[in-house]
């Protein structure tokens, strides 16, 4: 190879690398991390990306250069030089990628080990996934439950994830970490939030027709605010009273599929609960009995236009009879007034 052609090749490579580099640099690829773990994942991401850009620049330089330089007119019947191989080159391009992927592997394994390290006193929170709702329980705050995940900032948290029906997956893009929820198994996810804010929780494992709507919110709060929230909420839920039914409605994820009281958060997977009195006329039951049956045995009567086998059949066993009474009472009270 002449010196001139090496120069041209290098120039093309630099241009290709610069374009790829600009795409990598100017596009905001990753969300701003909100956990220590996501920060480490970002490091691996950029380490691998830089290697990829170098290889991309090299290969595209050779292709572009060859297409420009070695192209011949259609009537050129000659053949190229009969080069069958070059052992040195072949060893080189086997060994160099092997070294690169080894480096990637070592870096990844270290980050993985660090990200899985819970530290001394992690906070445990239970995550329950079911079609198509998330709920969270805080065993260290007297069984407090919520449908939005509240986390104290700068504290190592282990989520213990359960699935009640099919596979789901817990993901907050800003947290980086992701973990499937598997029926019959408790899986865990470790995060250490680093900044206060509200972040979207998404289900990322196809779980049925409401999959795209199986979302919730994670709220990272300053430690003191978190403690205050936990003690206040804990008292409200344990005393019960007038709000007990509403608390059960909220903490069991009913609103993920059903709309209740206006368009605040229209959910369309299941029937609109504001129209319960109208639906009850279908099977001709009293409103109270109809609501109770629909919670415990959802497929006994399915409103027209909605498929069967969607609503979990687990509420009959997961709710105590006291809780069920409170929930039915709450639904009757809130629909009889404004319903159809």
């Amino acid at each position: 190879m002449r010196r001139g052609s090496i120069l041209q090749l290098v120039v093309i490579g630099v241009i290709a690398g610069a374009i790829a580099g600009a795409v990598a640099y100017f596009v905001p690829w990753l969300p701003k991390p909100a956990t220590l773990e996501a920060e480490r994942i970002d490091w691996v991401f950029w380490f691998v990306t830089i290697i990829c850009i170098v290889i991309f620049a090299l290969v595209s330089a050779v292709i572009v250069y060859s297409v420009i330089k070695f192209r011949v007119p259609p009537d050129d019947d000659t053949d190229g030089p009969p080069i069958h191989g070059h052992t040195g080159l072949e060893i080189l391009w086997t060994a160099v990628p092997a070294l690169l992927v080894t480096a990637i592997g070592v870096f990844s394994a270290i980050v993985l080990a660090k990200n899985d390290n819970l530290g001394k006193h992690p906070l445990h929170i239970d995550v329950i996934a079911q079609q198509f709702a998330w709920s969270f329980k805080y065993p260290e705050s007297n069984g407090l439950a919520s449908t939005e995940l509240r986390l104290p900032v700068h504290r190592s948290v282990q989520l213990r994830i359960r699935a009640l029906d099919v596979l789901h997956s817990f993901w907050v893009p800003q947290f980086g970490q992701k973990q499937d929820a598997v029926p019959g198994q408790v899986t865990t996810l470790h995060i250490t939030p680093t900044r206060v804010g509200r972040f979207p929780i998404k289900c990322t494992e196809l779980c049925g027709l409401g999959h795209a709507f199986m979302r919730a919110t994670a709220i990272v709060m300053p430690a003191a605010e978190y403690d205050a929230w936990a003690s206040k909420q804990g008292q409200a839920q344990s005393t019960g009273g007038a709000d007990a039914g509403k608390a059960i409605f909220d903490s069991n994820g009913c609103a993920a599929c059903h709309t209740l009281k206006g368009p605040e958060r229209p959910a369309k997977v299941g029937p609109d609960l504001d129209r319960l009195p109208a639906f009850a006329k279908g099977p001709g039951q009293t409103l109270d009995a109809f609501i109770r049956e629909s919670i415990v045995k959802p497929d006994a009567y399915v409103e027209k236009g909605y498929p069967p086998n969607v609503m979990p059949k687990t509420f009959g066993s997961s709710l105590s009879s006291k809780q069920l009474d409170a929930l039915v009472k709450y639904l009757v009270a809130s629909t009889r007034g404004g319903g159809a």
């Binding site: 592997g105 973990q179 198994q185």
Partner: protein, 653 residues
């Protein structure tokens, strides 16, 4: 007798391939064909349904007539066998088994003399290759239309055209058709045509098995499309059909599970056929180290298929057993193991990725060497790297499961093997680059597709390395980054090489040249449309858009609209391809025997090839890619042999 032996032989062949005697009147009912299939399929459905009812009567299970089970056993299992028997796939074997005189060419003559012959059971590998390609292109169009519907729904946030279940069905059927009825069988079709020719063989080792493997495909494809007619909608669990969602979903799911059985059986039979053909039917002198790389690629692919495909069959049987036989493979409350499904499924479906890629490597090697006018750089290492991918491919399945909740210790070993696969794959890319280096490049349409493949597959390979690194994978699992990655490897990789292969062998298959300008237009439209559609998906994924979502946050609206518009352009580029194929087939200029001046054996015969490929068995004397080597030959055929015998110097490599 004045006839020479050769002349006599040829005449016999002409008698033999005249096809079956014409069928008239009521005899249509018992002669092999669609008329017989029309009554045999319902008959077998009845038999299947009868077995179900009798078994339920005997067991005392109510109700005796259960539609789910009757459909599964009668319509999806028994009726297809009736259809296959009706069109005549089993005639020869049945006659042989019951001791009747067999008719070697009774219904399955070699060659095709009118378009009708392509709709009959035919044992000619060239006809079967065409049947495969036309069928798979049909399913490419069907799958592509579904993708357009998916993109239409995703153009704006919120729900536009479909409900969630239908949307889930659209992308599930799209993926299943593209994987099981386009990429895998399209490669099998190209290889069906090319491999026996490249080996110097008159046909595949088992021509009747070959015909049967083809006829399973329309069954599988019809089944997948027919799931749209099911009560409850089509199967909507993604092409991965993960349990326990799949054991609870409506009837459509069974259509997926059974279609995979039929397509899988087709794959396995074809793979066995390729293995035996390649091992036993190579022309004299054609040693393994002289095989064209396409043959090597199909040899390794067939090994993958034979070893891996039974696993997906097993996974789908387990799902169906859970659904209709009250087993509990994936029901944890009864001791089932949910992750077991994923382990079994990916033990097939990761090797399946290589089943969908290695034949493409083979096609790229053929095309790049021929249109660079240079030998393949590092031929032996190219073949060895195929074998390395084959072996490593079986040790990486759990990299699809890094976030699945499997044993955590399994992640690092699986990451190491996954990253190692980049090494043999890199060897192949660098060898292609070294092959075009200092070559005499002819940028004809097949070459454009092959170079497009190398650059697009490079991007897919690099994003694959990123996915191999566990921490990155944890972040981008089940996001649009995955969607981008698989389309860069399966569209930019597999589909680009399938197009390269179709354009490359089009003259050989049809005897006509395609339109070069339209071919290049097709390439550039696809190349631009493809990148505009799929590259932005990387960003969507890393930023946080989950896959399989019918609705998304408004902040992704602009990018999704852009992607949807680009994808419609990409879809429209197919029209150029179809127009080119149809007009060239009807009125393209006649193709010479060897328009590309290639050395491999299929180009040494007429276009299209004679009915039994070679009038005389060729003698292979050298490697397949000896471009630029003075006086080198890959094989000597027919009259040349005399010249060789008389001492003409032939360089042997």
């Amino acid at each position: 007798m004045s006839e020479t032996a050769v002349g006599h032989q040829q005449e016999l062949r002409h008698d033999a391939h005249g096809g079956p005697p014409p069928v008239r009147g009521w005899r249509h009912l018992i002669a092999p064909g669609f008329v017989r299939a029309l009554w045999m399929a319902p008959l077998f459905f009845g038999i299947g349904a009868g077995i179900v009812v009798l078994a339920r009567l005997w067991g005392g299970w109510h109700p005796y007539w259960n539609w789910w089970i009757v459909i599964t056993v009668g319509a999806l299992t028994a009726a297809p066998i009736g259809f296959l028997a009706g069109i005549g796939n089993f005639d020869y074997w049945v006659r042989y088994a019951i001791g009747s005189p067999t008719r070697p060419e009774d219904h399955s003559g070699h060659g095709a003399y009118s378009w009708r012959d392509y709709f009959r059971v035919n044992t000619d590998h060239k006809v079967i290759g065409m049947q495969y390609l036309v069928t798979t292109i049909f399913f490419l169009l069907a799958g592509g239309m579904l993708a357009m519907l998916v993109r239409a729904e995703l153009a704006k946030p919120g729900m536009q055209f479909f409900d969630n279940q239908t949307y889930n069905g659209l992308f599930s059927v799209h993926a299943s058709l593209m994987i099981f009825l386009f990429v895998i069988p399209a490669f099998a079709g190209l290889a069906n045509f090319a491999v026996p020719l490249m080996l110097g063989a008159p046909d595949m080792a088992f021509p009747r098995l070959n015909a049967l493997s083809f006829w399973l495909l329309p069954i599988a494809g019809t089944m997948m499309l027919a799931s749209f007619l099911c009560p409850g909608g089509p199967f909507a669990n993604g092409w991965t059909n993960y349990a326990p969602l799949s054991t609870h979903q409506p009837l459509g799911t069974v259509f997926f599970s059974m279609a995979v059985q039929w397509a899988g059986a087709s794959s396995i039979m074809t793979a066995l056929n390729f293995l035996v053909t390649i091992i036993t039917m190579r022309a004299p002198g054609l040693t393994f180290w002289r095989l064209p790389l396409l043959v090597w690629a199909n040899f390794t692919t067939s090994l993958l298929v034979v070893i891996a495909t039974p696993f997906i069959a097993g996974s789908q049987f387990f799902v169906m057993f859970d659904r209709i036989m009250h087993t509990h493979f994936f029901d944890p409350s009864q001791g089932g193991y949910v992750l077991g499904y994923q382990h079994i499924f990916w033990f097939y479906s990761h090797p399946a990725v290589y089943i969908m890629m290695l034949p493409g490597f083979g096609i790229a090697s053929e095309v790049i060497s021929v249109f660079s006018r240079k030998p393949i750089f590092g031929y032996r290492l190219m073949a060895v790297s195929l074998m390395a991918i084959l072996v490593l491919g079986f040790s990486v399945w759990a990299h699809h499961m890094f976030v699945s909740g499997m044993a955590p210790w399994l992640r690092v070993p699986m990451m190491i093997t996954t990253l190692l696969i980049a090494v043999p794959t890199g060897v192949k890319v660098f060898s292609w680059l070294a092959t075009i280096w200092e070559g005499k490049l002819h940028l004809r349409t097949p070459m454009l597709w092959a170079l497009g493949f190398v650059s697009m597959f490079l991007i897919g390979g690099l994003s694959g390395v990123m996915l191999g690194a566990v921490p990155i994978d944890i972040h981008v699992s089940d996001t649009y980054f995955i969607v981008a990655h698989i389309h860069y490897v399966l569209f930019g990789g597999s589909l680009f090489t399938i197009f390269a292969g179709i354009y490359y062998w089009f003259p050989k298959m049809t005897g006509r040249m395609y339109n070069e300008k339209l071919g290049k237009l097709h390439f550039w439209l696809t190349f631009v449309g493809f990148n505009a559609t799929f590259f932005p998906m990387h960003w969507l994924g890393t930023d946080g858009m989950a896959r399989r979502y019918s609705d998304y946050e408004p902040k992704y609206a602009a990018l999704n609209m852009f992607i949807s518009i680009a994808s419609f352009g990409l879809g429209a580029s197919t029209i150029v391809f179809l127009y080119n194929m149809i007009t060239s087939l009807r009125s393209g200029p006649p193709a010479p025997g060897n328009p590309w001046r290639a050395l491999t054996l299929e180009w040494q015969v007429t276009s299209p090839p004679p009915i039994f490929n070679f009038d005389e068995i060729p003698q292979v004397v050298g490697g397949p890619y000896e471009y630029g080597v003075p006086g080198a030959r890959h094989a000597v055929l027919n009259g040349d042999r005399a010249a060789v015998a008389e001492g003409e110097e032939v360089r042997v490599h």
